[in-house]
């Protein structure tokens, strides 16, 4: 009985830490609709600042808690600075751009933290007066865990008081429930948003600081906690503080007991719970459905344009250069360009559903990496020839996308994105843990092209033709009824349904097509690399793809190609330099502030003849 109680209490203390981060994230999302990827970074900074503050301050319980409070305030101020200097400029930009901006902040903070705090993992100081353990029916329970258990309810009560009993809190709740109404009330939104960012970041910092004696501080905390915090927020219902509390309790207990059975995969278990909850309750346990579809509606202002003459000429020149490339390039450049092309196809497939389709996927690597694995496993286990493997990879991924998509198209906006992330994470876990079949962390090695394509020039042409063909096929699809039907569902679900379009079914099919082409990209990619590792299916991979799409711009059909070339080129240029994340993040921030429509979007807007020119693009033909 004792160990059981201790396990239960440990779960409560896990829940406490989860709640602090998640509450801040939920609060910020509720008011500003910013999905703050940098929230985990604030948590990490909180832990580090607390460490240095506590070791600098005099010893003793008072100063210990004082140091923790100082850390929370410092992080709160950091959040305020980010809000005022960056986010405030781009609240009007598409939601996805804010995501990219906060992701850039995450990258920048990662390197700044490395620079300021050092690479070493820090062991947290013991809390004075709470450094022992108590006996519970024969089992030991650290005193500090008990203290942690008390913190979450205290913060919950404090937040409840703030939100329900103060004028400021009433405004925050009004903003969460109805932004338009708030604007109509004439409230100073800027001050409100900044205040909420301070509070949210303060809570993240507090969360990082209070877990210091338990978990210490290290540079991987940010990504680890952000994934968990998102799960809690989404399970609880975005914007709902009590929901976050409830979800933190459930997930905290689950991980605490789950660790007894499947030790390595607590995060995967959380994602699994999230998938189940979202399927049963699409808006989380205590969340409310979005009143208005706000996600990508701004996209609807961007008509689909046929290629202008200029673009056709550019495309032809590009194709000619690519075909002539082996004449004057070395093998390193050939491989690089080939990989850019495959990556561009993966990006185009994500763009297909994200831009014209309005469905943002945070887990597209499931299909890209999945295609790579499918091809590799066929070759490895049953000696499939390359040509057949290149057919089987997209087929398998179309089937996988049909399964995953069936659940995902029931949701929209951020919820849909989070569900794709959950499924991708589950796929990734399967690949990691089913070592006997997939090779686990060691990956699958020795996957080489058929002999006729073994020559690097021939393989280069193969890669260019498959990738380029895939990109053009997806592009063409956008101009067919299939693509139009998908776009109709994005533009107006209401109208689409009223003219007899089965909205979910169209979205489902589109999702499968995107998965299929991503699988094709992954299939050819594995033959270029010769091997595949679980990284190709992981969250960072998904974000590589998403960031490239955003980098190119979701308003423009050539965006994915430009974006992936820019992304891989950049990565290749700077990944050998120290602090490349800092550079990459700064570039993203600059891009977001200067080119809120992405690179390709910027140029196509800039070089369109005049603002009222949209008609000219779509000459009637028939």
């Amino acid at each position: 009985m004792g160990p059981f109680i201790v396990q239960f209490l440990t779960g409560l203390s896990n829940a406490s830490a989860l709640f602090l981060v998640a509450a801040g994230l939920s609060l910020i999302f509720g008011v500003s609709r910013v999905v703050n990827m940098a929230h985990g970074s604030f948590y990490m900074v909180g832990a580090y600042v607390a460490y240095f503050a506590i070791s600098w301050l005099p010893k003793g319980g008072f100063w210990f808690w004082g140091g923790i409070l100082i850390a929370a305030v410092v992080v709160g101020l950091l959040g305020t600075v980010v809000e005022v200097l960056l986010l405030r400029r781009i609240y009007r930009a598409p939601e996805l751009f804010m995501l990219m901006a906060t992701f850039a902040v995450l990258l920048v903070i990662q390197d700044l933290a490395l620079w300021v705090f050092g690479a070493e993992d820090l062991l947290g100081p013991r809390a004075p007066g709470l450094d022992g353990s108590i006996q519970i029916l024969g089992a030991l329970m650290p005193e500090y865990d008990i203290a942690l258990i008390l913190i979450a309810p205290l913060v919950l009560v404090g937040l409840w008081f703030l939100l329900n009993r103060t004028r400021w809190g009433v405004l925050v709740r009004a903003a969460t429930e109805d932004r338009e109404m708030l604007a109509a009330l004439g409230v100073n939104q800027k001050r409100l948003f900044t205040g909420v960012f301070f509070l949210g970041s303060f809570l993240a910092g507090l969360g990082g600081a209070v877990q210091l004696p338990k978990g210490g501080a290290d540079l991987l905390m940010d990504l680890n906690v952000i994934a968990a915090a998102f799960v809690v927020v989404v399970v609880g219902g975005m914007g709902s503080i009590p929901g976050a509390f409830l979800a933190a309790l459930i997930l905290g207990e689950l991980t605490s007991f789950g660790v007894l059975f499947i030790p390595q995969s607590t995060l995967v278990m959380m994602f699994f719970v999230m998938a189940v909850v979202l399927v049963i309750r699409p808006y989380g346990l205590l969340g409310k459905p979005e009143g208005v579809e706000h996600t990508v509606s701004e996209l609807a202002q961007w008509p689909l344009r046929k290629a202008s003459r200029k673009l056709r000429v550019t495309g032809a020149v590009l194709a000619a250069v690519l075909l002539a490339f082996p004449l004057f390039a070395g093998s390193f450049q050939l491989i690089l360009i080939g990989e850019i092309a495959m990556f561009a196809l993966a990006c185009m497939s994500l763009f297909f559903i994200t831009g014209p389709g309005g469905m943002v996927s945070f887990g597209h690597a499931a299909f890209f990496g999945g295609g790579a694995y499918a091809a590799a496993l066929f070759v490895h286990h049953v000696n499939t020839p390359m040509e057949l493997a290149l057919l089987l990879a997209p087929t398998c991924m179309a089937l996988l996308a049909l399964v995953i998509g069936w659940f995902c198209v029931r949701l929209s906006g951020v919820y849909l994105a989070m569900l794709t992330l959950a499924f991708a994470q589950i796929c990734w876990a399967v690949v990691c843990q089913w070592g006997r079949f997939t090779g686990g962390d060691d990956g699958v090695l020795g996957i080489w092209p058929s002999p006729w394509a073994g020559n690097e020039v021939i393989f280069y042409y193969l890669a260019i033709i498959i990738s380029g063909g895939g990109i053009l096929a997806l592009r063409y699809l956008l101009f067919t009824p299939f693509g139009y039907a998908m776009r109709a569902c994005r533009d107006s679900r209401l109208r689409a349904a009223a003219i007899g379009i089965h909205v979910r079914r169209r979205q489902w099919y589109s999702f499968a097509v995107a998965g299929m082409f991503a699988g094709l990209a992954g299939g050819i990619y594995v033959f270029s690399k010769g091997s595949v590792f679980p990284y190709e299916m992981s969250i960072p991979r998904s974000f590589d793809i998403l960031l490239s799409v955003l980098l190119g711009g979701i308003h423009s059909l050539s965006g994915p190609v430009v974006g992936s070339a820019a992304f891989i080129g950049l990565e290749d240029l700077i990944s050998r330099v120290h602090f490349w994340r800092l550079i990459l993040g700064s570039i993203f921030i600059l891009l977001v502030v200067c080119f809120p429509q992405g690179i390709a979007g910027y140029f196509s807007a800039r070089f369109a003849k005049e603002p009222g020119d949209q008609e000219a693009g779509s000459e009637r033909s028939g």
Binding site: L299, A300, Q301, W302, P303, L304, Y476, L477, F479, T480, P481, F482, Y484, A485, R487, A488, D491, S492, L494, R495, A496, A497, A498, I499, G500, I501, H502, V503, R506, Y509, Q614, E615, S618, R620, S621, G622
Partner: protein, 249 residues
Amino acid sequence: MTKLLQVDGLYKSFGGVEAVKGVSFDLEEGELLAMIGPNGAGKSTCFNVINGQLTPDRGSVKILGQDTTGMKPHNICALGVGRTFQVTATFPSMTVLENVQMVFLSARGRLSTVHRTVSRLFVEQAMDLLRVVGVESQWARPCGILAYGDLKRVELAMALANRPRLLLMDEPTAGMGIKERLTLMKLIGKIASERAIGVLFTEHDMDVVFAHADRIIVLNHGVLIAQGSPAEVRDNHEVRRIYLGSYAR
């Protein structure tokens, strides 16, 4: 002969608000039925229940004798129901022509076509419809930048494109000047009688209603308080009371 539309004892509430309380009425082929009532009377809610966007709490809807209660909008559309919305809903990123083409593509089951581009499908048919509603000159402009009155006409074209038997038009003339209102209603009346379509519409301008409706039903606070010919409704005491005598002289 079966009625085109039969609504029987409809109830619908949102949380605490009872928007529609026991509304029953029916509609014949070729008939122009006006639903009137003050703002918040429950008119749009009735429309949304009839076209399947909302499920009623109680009551039933029959279209051409078939019980459609709880059916999804896309299935109800397939029975021959066209719909326009109080706040216009079109595809803003598509041109006027493409908006109408979409309806043809959907009605003819061509949405999965991948071997031809939209620019070659149903162009003439869609242009013809645009001519009927009088926005053919705008065909190449995206709906996102269209004037409100033109959007209402595009919606009408879209509602007509699948050859509906029943048209549901929620405030088809909102935001138009009085002359345009009258011409548009006249046009709707003409189309309805030519094609034997039954039309259920709401309208705030009583002059328009009394000039064009064959029959009128009156909603107030979710309750159907009167129905009958324009003359009967005009003389109804309760209707006069609600409209404070402003329209019923």
